[in-house]
């Protein structure tokens, strides 16, 4: 089964500073990759996804991620964060062992805190 590792459980960043949230995946085959955001007391919202094609993926709210096959990484970036970006961010990869690309396995999450 595939898995993802989110290396940082918490990331504090000053407002208007850039941020990178790290995600590494384990796979020897082509993958789909996802980033979700969860605001307090809400469900998960899809930020962006990599299915194929360009390795630089742009998502909502000014976020982007780069698929790096040689480093098995899919780091999430934003050049300038806002207070409203305070949330938990989850990286996810499908479990392709039995059920195609539909069933997602999530990382442990990174809590992004924006400091005014």
């Amino acid at each position: 089964a595939q898995s993802v590792t989110q290396l940082d459980s918490q990331v504090p960043v000053f407002e208007e500073a850039p941020v990178e949230l790290r995600c590494n995946y384990s796979s020897s085959v082509s993958v789909y990759l996802f980033w979700y955001v969860q605001y307090p007391n809400q469900g998960l919202q899809l930020l962006l996804k990599y299915l194929s094609g360009s390795t630089l993926v742009k998502g909502i709210n000014g976020f982007e991620a780069e698929f790096n096959k040689s480093q098995t990484s899919f780091h999430l970036r934003k050049p300038s964060v806002h207070i409203s970006d305070t949330a938990e961010y989850f990286c996810a990869v499908p479990d392709i062992s039995n059920f195609g690309n539909e069933k997602l396995t999530f990382g442990t999450g990174t809590r992004l805190t924006i400091i005014p």
Binding site: Y36, G43, F99, N101, K103, T105, F106, T108
Partner: protein, 110 residues
Amino acid sequence: DARVTQTPRHKVTEMGQEVTMRCQPILGHNTVFWYRQTMMQGLELLAYFRNRAPLDDSGMPKDRFSAEMPDATLATLKIQPSEPRDSAVYFCASGSPGPTFGSGTRLTVV
């Protein structure tokens, strides 16, 4: 925007009682997932349906949990009997790849 609707949003129940959580997936989505989120375990997949047929429920405690899709507009997750360790937020999601999540049901079993 199309959304996944979950009811109830909050549920407090006593240990031993039956709990039923409902989900209305997005019209046209043929895959439905039930996830559970806790501080200790994070996000765990409980069950997974495609075209209303259960494909994988290996993450679900079989003795007390059951998941069904009586029709394409309704998915249910039942716990009977409930226990304090079932306290968690339960999410329904539909669509693939990259499912859309509902707002969740926060279950507290006392």
